[in-house]
Protein backbone atom coordinates (compact mmCIF):
# COMPACT_ATOMS: atom_id res chain seq x y z
CA UNK A 1 0.00 0.00 0.00
CA UNK A 2 1.69 3.24 -1.08
CA UNK A 3 2.00 5.87 1.63
CA UNK A 4 0.08 9.10 1.11
CA UNK A 5 1.98 12.26 1.70
CA UNK A 6 1.08 14.87 4.31
CA UNK A 7 -0.23 18.36 3.45
CA UNK A 8 3.06 19.94 4.53
CA UNK A 9 5.08 17.53 2.41
CA UNK A 10 2.69 18.10 -0.49
CA UNK A 11 3.22 21.85 -0.29
CA UNK A 12 6.98 21.33 -0.19
CA UNK A 13 6.91 19.02 -3.21
CA UNK A 14 4.58 21.38 -5.06
CA UNK A 15 6.99 24.25 -4.54
CA UNK A 16 9.83 22.03 -5.71
CA UNK A 17 8.08 21.12 -8.94
CA UNK A 18 6.27 24.41 -9.53
CA UNK A 19 8.73 26.01 -11.97
CA UNK A 20 9.01 23.02 -14.27
CA UNK A 21 5.32 22.19 -14.30
CA UNK A 22 4.23 25.81 -14.69
CA UNK A 23 6.57 26.27 -17.66
CA UNK A 24 5.32 23.01 -19.18
CA UNK A 25 1.77 24.35 -18.80
CA UNK A 26 2.75 27.65 -20.43
CA UNK A 27 4.01 25.69 -23.42
CA UNK A 28 0.74 23.76 -23.66
CA UNK A 29 -1.85 26.40 -22.72
CA UNK A 30 0.08 29.49 -23.94
CA UNK A 31 -1.67 31.60 -21.30
CA UNK A 32 -0.05 32.52 -17.94
CA UNK A 33 -3.34 33.00 -16.10
CA UNK A 34 -4.74 29.70 -17.33
CA UNK A 35 -1.47 27.99 -16.46
CA UNK A 36 -1.48 29.47 -12.95
CA UNK A 37 -5.15 28.59 -12.38
CA UNK A 38 -4.55 25.08 -13.66
CA UNK A 39 -1.51 24.36 -11.49
CA UNK A 40 -3.23 25.83 -8.42
CA UNK A 41 -6.26 23.63 -9.07
CA UNK A 42 -3.88 20.66 -9.25
CA UNK A 43 -2.38 21.71 -5.91
CA UNK A 44 -5.85 21.81 -4.35
CA UNK A 45 -6.66 18.42 -5.89
CA UNK A 46 -3.48 17.08 -4.31
CA UNK A 47 -4.51 18.47 -0.93
CA UNK A 48 -7.84 16.66 -1.20
CA UNK A 49 -6.36 13.41 -2.46
CA UNK A 50 -2.57 13.41 -2.35
CA UNK A 51 -0.68 11.19 -4.75
CA UNK A 52 1.59 8.51 -3.39
CA UNK A 53 5.07 9.53 -2.31
CA UNK A 54 6.65 7.41 -5.02
CA UNK A 55 4.49 8.81 -7.83
CA UNK A 56 6.12 10.96 -10.47
CA UNK A 57 4.85 14.17 -8.94
CA UNK A 58 5.73 16.48 -11.81
CA UNK A 59 3.84 14.19 -14.18
CA UNK A 60 0.91 13.95 -11.78
CA UNK A 61 0.71 17.73 -11.29
CA UNK A 62 1.07 18.36 -14.99
CA UNK A 63 -1.70 16.04 -16.11
CA UNK A 64 -4.14 17.10 -13.38
CA UNK A 65 -3.41 20.72 -14.30
CA UNK A 66 -3.83 20.09 -18.03
CA UNK A 67 -7.21 18.49 -17.36
CA UNK A 68 -8.18 21.40 -15.12
CA UNK A 69 -6.98 23.85 -17.77
CA UNK A 70 -9.18 22.16 -20.34
CA UNK A 71 -12.25 22.13 -18.08
CA UNK A 72 -11.61 25.71 -17.06
CA UNK A 73 -11.48 27.01 -20.61
CA UNK A 74 -13.99 29.86 -20.91
CA UNK A 75 -14.52 29.89 -17.15
CA UNK A 76 -11.95 32.56 -16.44
CA UNK A 77 -14.55 35.31 -16.09
CA UNK A 78 -15.70 33.62 -12.91
CA UNK A 79 -12.24 34.04 -11.39
CA UNK A 80 -12.13 36.62 -8.63
CA UNK A 81 -8.49 37.47 -9.10
CA UNK A 82 -7.50 36.56 -12.62
CA UNK A 83 -4.81 38.52 -14.44
CA UNK A 84 -2.55 37.96 -11.45
CA UNK A 85 0.50 37.11 -13.48
CA UNK A 86 2.96 39.85 -14.20
CA UNK A 87 3.37 38.69 -17.78
CA UNK A 88 0.48 38.95 -20.21
CA UNK A 89 -0.82 36.23 -22.46
CA UNK A 90 0.43 38.17 -25.49
CA UNK A 91 3.94 38.40 -24.05
CA UNK A 92 4.05 34.66 -23.41
CA UNK A 93 2.71 33.94 -26.90
CA UNK A 94 5.36 36.26 -28.35
CA UNK A 95 8.11 34.56 -26.29
CA UNK A 96 6.98 31.13 -27.46
CA UNK A 97 6.80 32.29 -31.07
CA UNK A 98 10.40 33.44 -30.85
CA UNK A 99 11.47 29.99 -29.64
CA UNK A 100 12.10 27.08 -31.92
CA UNK A 101 10.15 24.87 -29.52
CA UNK A 102 7.27 27.34 -29.32
CA UNK A 103 6.92 27.46 -33.09
CA UNK A 104 6.98 23.66 -33.34
CA UNK A 105 4.35 23.30 -30.63
CA UNK A 106 2.11 25.97 -32.11
CA UNK A 107 1.13 23.68 -34.98
CA UNK A 108 -0.06 20.91 -32.68
CA UNK A 109 -3.36 20.31 -30.94
CA UNK A 110 -3.43 20.97 -27.20
CA UNK A 111 -3.47 17.23 -26.49
CA UNK A 112 -0.49 16.65 -28.77
CA UNK A 113 1.35 19.55 -27.14
CA UNK A 114 0.67 18.11 -23.69
CA UNK A 115 2.12 14.71 -24.60
CA UNK A 116 5.11 16.19 -26.44
CA UNK A 117 5.93 18.46 -23.50
CA UNK A 118 5.45 15.55 -21.09
CA UNK A 119 7.97 13.51 -23.07
CA UNK A 120 10.59 16.04 -24.08
CA UNK A 121 10.45 18.54 -21.23
CA UNK A 122 9.25 16.56 -18.23
CA UNK A 123 11.06 13.41 -19.32
CA UNK A 124 8.14 10.99 -19.02
CA UNK A 125 8.21 7.82 -21.11
CA UNK A 126 5.24 6.49 -23.10
CA UNK A 127 4.13 4.19 -20.31
CA UNK A 128 4.14 6.98 -17.73
CA UNK A 129 2.30 9.35 -20.06
CA UNK A 130 -0.31 6.67 -20.72
CA UNK A 131 -0.78 6.04 -17.01
CA UNK A 132 -1.10 9.73 -16.14
CA UNK A 133 -3.43 10.55 -19.02
CA UNK A 134 -5.48 7.40 -18.47
CA UNK A 135 -5.03 6.10 -22.03
CA UNK A 136 -3.35 3.09 -23.63
CA UNK A 137 0.34 3.17 -24.46
CA UNK A 138 -0.56 2.68 -28.10
CA UNK A 139 -2.66 5.85 -28.03
CA UNK A 140 0.32 7.77 -26.64
CA UNK A 141 2.62 6.34 -29.31
CA UNK A 142 0.18 7.23 -32.07
CA UNK A 143 -0.42 10.74 -30.75
CA UNK A 144 3.30 11.39 -30.37
CA UNK A 145 4.03 9.95 -33.82
CA UNK A 146 1.48 12.33 -35.37
CA UNK A 147 2.89 15.23 -33.39
CA UNK A 148 6.47 14.46 -34.41
CA UNK A 149 5.45 14.10 -38.05
CA UNK A 150 3.83 17.50 -37.89
CA UNK A 151 6.89 19.02 -36.19
CA UNK A 152 9.18 17.47 -38.83
CA UNK A 153 7.01 18.99 -41.54
CA UNK A 154 7.27 22.33 -39.77
CA UNK A 155 11.07 22.04 -39.68
CA UNK A 156 11.14 21.16 -43.42
CA UNK A 157 8.90 24.12 -44.26
CA UNK A 158 11.05 26.48 -42.24
CA UNK A 159 14.35 25.34 -43.81
Amino acid sequence: MPTRISAERWEQLYRLEFARVYRALLAVLRDPDRALDAIQDAFVAGLRRPPAEDDDLAGWLFVVAVRSGRRGFGRSLLRLDHARSRVSKDEIAASLDRMEVGRLLAGLTERQRAMVVAQFYLGLDHREIARHFGVKTGTVSATLAQAKARMRAEVRNAS
Partner: protein, 272 residues
Protein backbone atom coordinates in the same frame (compact mmCIF):
# COMPACT_ATOMS: atom_id res chain seq x y z
CA UNK B 1 14.57 14.37 -39.29
CA UNK B 2 14.43 15.67 -35.74
CA UNK B 3 17.31 14.44 -33.61
CA UNK B 4 15.45 13.41 -30.45
CA UNK B 5 18.33 13.72 -27.99
CA UNK B 6 18.85 17.24 -29.26
CA UNK B 7 15.16 18.02 -28.97
CA UNK B 8 15.13 17.32 -25.25
CA UNK B 9 18.00 19.73 -24.71
CA UNK B 10 16.29 22.38 -26.84
CA UNK B 11 13.07 21.93 -24.86
CA UNK B 12 14.95 22.30 -21.58
CA UNK B 13 16.92 25.32 -22.69
CA UNK B 14 14.05 27.21 -24.27
CA UNK B 15 11.20 26.44 -21.89
CA UNK B 16 13.43 27.05 -18.86
CA UNK B 17 13.74 30.64 -20.04
CA UNK B 18 9.99 31.29 -19.66
CA UNK B 19 9.24 33.69 -16.78
CA UNK B 20 7.72 32.51 -13.52
CA UNK B 21 5.12 34.38 -11.48
CA UNK B 22 6.09 35.80 -8.08
CA UNK B 23 6.57 33.01 -5.57
CA UNK B 24 3.97 34.66 -3.33
CA UNK B 25 1.18 33.56 -5.68
CA UNK B 26 2.33 30.02 -6.39
CA UNK B 27 -0.10 28.70 -3.81
CA UNK B 28 -3.81 29.49 -4.10
CA UNK B 29 -4.67 31.98 -1.38
CA UNK B 30 -7.44 34.51 -1.83
CA UNK B 31 -9.62 32.62 -4.25
CA UNK B 32 -12.16 29.95 -3.66
CA UNK B 33 -11.89 26.65 -5.43
CA UNK B 34 -13.56 26.62 -8.84
CA UNK B 35 -16.48 24.52 -7.72
CA UNK B 36 -17.06 26.76 -4.69
CA UNK B 37 -16.73 29.79 -6.86
CA UNK B 38 -19.35 28.55 -9.27
CA UNK B 39 -21.64 27.90 -6.31
CA UNK B 40 -21.02 31.41 -5.02
CA UNK B 41 -21.89 32.79 -8.44
CA UNK B 42 -25.00 30.67 -8.81
CA UNK B 43 -26.33 31.01 -5.28
CA UNK B 44 -24.72 34.18 -4.02
CA UNK B 45 -25.66 36.56 -6.81
CA UNK B 46 -29.45 35.96 -6.64
CA UNK B 47 -29.19 36.03 -2.85
CA UNK B 48 -27.39 39.36 -2.96
CA UNK B 49 -30.07 40.71 -5.30
CA UNK B 50 -32.80 39.59 -2.91
CA UNK B 51 -30.96 41.14 0.05
CA UNK B 52 -30.36 44.34 -1.87
CA UNK B 53 -34.01 44.63 -2.75
CA UNK B 54 -34.96 43.90 0.87
CA UNK B 55 -32.46 46.51 2.04
CA UNK B 56 -33.88 49.07 -0.32
CA UNK B 57 -37.36 48.37 0.95
CA UNK B 58 -36.15 48.66 4.57
CA UNK B 59 -34.29 51.89 3.81
CA UNK B 60 -37.33 53.25 2.11
CA UNK B 61 -39.49 52.40 5.10
CA UNK B 62 -37.00 53.94 7.53
CA UNK B 63 -36.51 50.64 9.33
CA UNK B 64 -32.72 50.55 8.79
CA UNK B 65 -31.15 52.47 11.63
CA UNK B 66 -27.76 50.69 11.94
CA UNK B 67 -24.87 51.39 9.56
CA UNK B 68 -24.21 48.41 7.26
CA UNK B 69 -21.10 46.32 7.74
CA UNK B 70 -18.98 45.20 4.84
CA UNK B 71 -17.86 41.58 5.19
CA UNK B 72 -15.37 39.68 3.12
CA UNK B 73 -15.07 36.00 2.40
CA UNK B 74 -12.31 34.44 4.46
CA UNK B 75 -9.36 33.02 2.59
CA UNK B 76 -9.42 29.34 1.80
CA UNK B 77 -5.72 29.19 2.74
CA UNK B 78 -3.85 31.81 4.73
CA UNK B 79 -1.61 34.08 2.75
CA UNK B 80 2.00 33.51 3.78
CA UNK B 81 4.78 35.95 3.07
CA UNK B 82 7.70 34.12 1.50
CA UNK B 83 10.34 36.72 2.28
CA UNK B 84 10.82 39.77 4.41
CA UNK B 85 10.77 42.92 2.30
CA UNK B 86 13.93 44.93 2.83
CA UNK B 87 13.59 48.60 3.55
CA UNK B 88 13.86 51.00 0.65
CA UNK B 89 12.54 48.53 -1.90
CA UNK B 90 8.94 49.74 -1.92
CA UNK B 91 7.99 46.75 0.12
CA UNK B 92 8.94 44.31 -2.63
CA UNK B 93 10.75 41.09 -1.91
CA UNK B 94 14.04 40.86 -3.74
CA UNK B 95 15.23 37.40 -2.74
CA UNK B 96 15.57 35.08 -5.71
CA UNK B 97 13.25 32.15 -6.17
CA UNK B 98 14.78 28.85 -4.99
CA UNK B 99 15.74 26.48 -7.77
CA UNK B 100 14.66 22.89 -7.93
CA UNK B 101 17.51 20.61 -8.93
CA UNK B 102 16.44 17.27 -10.30
CA UNK B 103 18.65 14.32 -10.94
CA UNK B 104 16.38 11.76 -12.61
CA UNK B 105 19.31 9.48 -13.45
CA UNK B 106 20.11 8.99 -9.76
CA UNK B 107 16.59 9.69 -8.50
CA UNK B 108 16.94 12.62 -6.14
CA UNK B 109 15.86 16.26 -6.02
CA UNK B 110 17.26 19.20 -4.10
CA UNK B 111 16.15 22.77 -3.61
CA UNK B 112 18.95 25.32 -3.69
CA UNK B 113 18.54 29.01 -2.85
CA UNK B 114 18.06 31.31 -5.81
CA UNK B 115 21.53 32.78 -5.38
CA UNK B 116 23.13 29.35 -5.72
CA UNK B 117 24.16 27.56 -8.90
CA UNK B 118 25.63 24.29 -9.97
CA UNK B 119 29.30 24.32 -10.86
CA UNK B 120 31.60 21.77 -12.42
CA UNK B 121 34.75 20.45 -10.79
CA UNK B 122 37.82 20.60 -13.01
CA UNK B 123 38.28 17.55 -15.22
CA UNK B 124 40.28 14.77 -13.63
CA UNK B 125 39.55 15.66 -10.03
CA UNK B 126 38.44 12.90 -7.73
CA UNK B 127 36.48 13.73 -4.64
CA UNK B 128 37.78 13.03 -1.19
CA UNK B 129 40.34 10.38 -2.17
CA UNK B 130 41.88 8.73 0.86
CA UNK B 131 44.76 6.31 1.01
CA UNK B 132 43.19 3.94 3.41
CA UNK B 133 43.54 0.20 3.97
CA UNK B 134 41.83 -2.07 1.50
CA UNK B 135 38.96 -2.61 3.93
CA UNK B 136 37.55 0.83 3.14
CA UNK B 137 35.60 1.47 -0.04
CA UNK B 138 37.76 2.25 -3.01
CA UNK B 139 37.33 5.97 -3.54
CA UNK B 140 38.60 6.18 -7.07
CA UNK B 141 37.05 7.45 -10.24
CA UNK B 142 35.77 4.16 -11.72
CA UNK B 143 33.48 3.83 -8.74
CA UNK B 144 32.29 7.42 -8.82
CA UNK B 145 29.04 7.38 -10.79
CA UNK B 146 27.89 10.96 -10.50
CA UNK B 147 28.93 14.21 -8.90
CA UNK B 148 27.32 17.63 -8.64
CA UNK B 149 28.74 20.61 -6.78
CA UNK B 150 26.57 23.56 -5.78
CA UNK B 151 27.92 26.93 -4.79
CA UNK B 152 26.83 30.46 -3.96
CA UNK B 153 30.13 31.89 -5.22
CA UNK B 154 30.78 33.71 -8.47
CA UNK B 155 32.72 31.69 -11.04
CA UNK B 156 36.08 33.47 -10.67
CA UNK B 157 36.07 33.32 -6.89
CA UNK B 158 35.08 29.67 -7.00
CA UNK B 159 37.92 28.66 -9.33
CA UNK B 160 40.44 30.40 -7.09
CA UNK B 161 39.31 28.37 -4.08
CA UNK B 162 39.08 24.94 -5.70
CA UNK B 163 41.53 22.36 -4.41
CA UNK B 164 42.57 19.20 -6.19
CA UNK B 165 39.80 17.02 -4.95
CA UNK B 166 37.44 19.04 -2.87
CA UNK B 167 34.90 21.68 -3.65
CA UNK B 168 35.59 24.92 -1.74
CA UNK B 169 34.40 25.42 1.80
CA UNK B 170 30.74 26.44 2.08
CA UNK B 171 29.79 24.54 -1.11
CA UNK B 172 27.70 21.38 -1.24
CA UNK B 173 29.16 18.33 -2.96
CA UNK B 174 26.69 15.59 -3.92
CA UNK B 175 28.23 12.32 -5.04
CA UNK B 176 26.88 8.94 -6.08
CA UNK B 177 29.25 5.99 -5.82
CA UNK B 178 29.11 2.30 -6.57
CA UNK B 179 28.84 1.22 -2.96
CA UNK B 180 30.93 -1.93 -3.55
CA UNK B 181 28.82 -4.04 -1.25
CA UNK B 182 29.43 -1.86 1.78
CA UNK B 183 26.82 -0.25 3.97
CA UNK B 184 26.42 3.44 4.69
CA UNK B 185 27.86 2.85 8.14
CA UNK B 186 30.93 1.18 6.63
CA UNK B 187 31.34 4.08 4.22
CA UNK B 188 31.05 6.51 7.09
CA UNK B 189 33.52 4.62 9.25
CA UNK B 190 37.04 5.39 8.13
CA UNK B 191 40.02 7.43 9.31
CA UNK B 192 39.05 9.54 12.33
CA UNK B 193 35.60 7.91 12.37
CA UNK B 194 37.31 4.57 12.91
CA UNK B 195 39.32 5.74 15.86
CA UNK B 196 42.37 6.54 13.74
CA UNK B 197 43.76 10.00 14.27
CA UNK B 198 45.06 11.31 10.97
CA UNK B 199 45.25 14.30 8.68
CA UNK B 200 45.28 16.66 11.65
CA UNK B 201 41.80 15.64 12.66
CA UNK B 202 40.64 15.97 16.21
CA UNK B 203 37.73 13.61 16.08
CA UNK B 204 34.61 12.34 14.43
CA UNK B 205 31.02 12.45 15.57
CA UNK B 206 28.94 9.75 13.94
CA UNK B 207 25.16 9.81 14.23
CA UNK B 208 22.10 8.97 12.19
CA UNK B 209 19.63 11.51 10.95
CA UNK B 210 16.20 10.95 9.45
CA UNK B 211 15.22 13.20 6.55
CA UNK B 212 11.69 12.81 5.20
CA UNK B 213 11.49 9.34 6.68
CA UNK B 214 14.86 8.14 5.33
CA UNK B 215 17.75 7.50 7.70
CA UNK B 216 21.16 8.79 6.71
CA UNK B 217 24.43 8.10 8.51
CA UNK B 218 25.96 11.46 9.35
CA UNK B 219 29.57 12.16 10.22
CA UNK B 220 31.16 15.41 11.32
CA UNK B 221 34.94 15.46 11.25
CA UNK B 222 36.73 18.27 13.08
CA UNK B 223 40.31 19.33 12.46
CA UNK B 224 42.95 21.13 14.47
CA UNK B 225 42.93 24.18 12.24
CA UNK B 226 39.20 24.61 12.44
CA UNK B 227 37.66 23.25 9.21
CA UNK B 228 34.84 20.81 9.83
CA UNK B 229 33.49 18.35 7.27
CA UNK B 230 29.93 17.07 7.47
CA UNK B 231 28.82 14.12 5.35
CA UNK B 232 25.50 12.33 4.94
CA UNK B 233 25.58 8.76 3.62
CA UNK B 234 22.66 6.79 2.23
CA UNK B 235 22.63 3.33 0.65
CA UNK B 236 20.38 3.12 -2.40
CA UNK B 237 20.49 -0.26 -4.12
CA UNK B 238 24.02 -0.71 -5.40
CA UNK B 239 24.76 2.95 -4.91
CA UNK B 240 25.94 5.19 -2.10
CA UNK B 241 24.60 8.72 -2.08
CA UNK B 242 26.82 11.19 -0.23
CA UNK B 243 26.03 14.82 0.53
CA UNK B 244 29.07 16.62 1.89
CA UNK B 245 30.08 20.11 2.84
CA UNK B 246 32.87 21.61 4.86
CA UNK B 247 32.98 24.82 6.74
CA UNK B 248 36.19 26.65 7.41
CA UNK B 249 36.51 29.57 9.83
CA UNK B 250 39.52 30.71 7.81
CA UNK B 251 37.53 31.01 4.60
CA UNK B 252 34.86 33.69 4.37
CA UNK B 253 31.54 32.18 3.34
CA UNK B 254 29.62 33.73 0.47
CA UNK B 255 27.20 36.43 1.68
CA UNK B 256 24.25 34.96 3.51
CA UNK B 257 25.63 31.42 3.57
CA UNK B 258 25.79 29.73 6.95
CA UNK B 259 25.82 26.19 8.22
CA UNK B 260 22.04 26.48 8.38
CA UNK B 261 21.94 27.25 4.65
CA UNK B 262 23.91 24.10 3.88
CA UNK B 263 21.83 22.00 6.25
CA UNK B 264 18.68 23.47 4.65
CA UNK B 265 19.77 22.29 1.22
CA UNK B 266 20.67 18.85 2.53
CA UNK B 267 17.30 18.58 4.25
CA UNK B 268 15.45 19.62 1.09
CA UNK B 269 16.46 16.35 -0.52
CA UNK B 270 13.66 14.37 -2.08
CA UNK B 271 14.27 10.76 -3.02
CA UNK B 272 12.26 9.52 -5.98
Amino acid sequence: MLPEIGIERVFQRELDSLPLPDEGIWLPTRRARPSSLAMVALVGVPLLLVLAVAGLIRDASGAATQPRRVTSTPSSLPSRPTCTPPSGMNGRCVSLVPNAVRNPAFAYNLTIPGEWRETRMPAGTEPFVRDGPSAVPSLTAPFLLDRHVFTARAAQEWVALTTVNMAPAWDLDVQVWDRQGRTALEWATFGPCNGVRSYGTTGCVQTTETIHGTTFVKTTISTLLGPQTTSYYLERGDQMLILRYWIDPNVAPPPGVTTATLEGIVHSIGLV
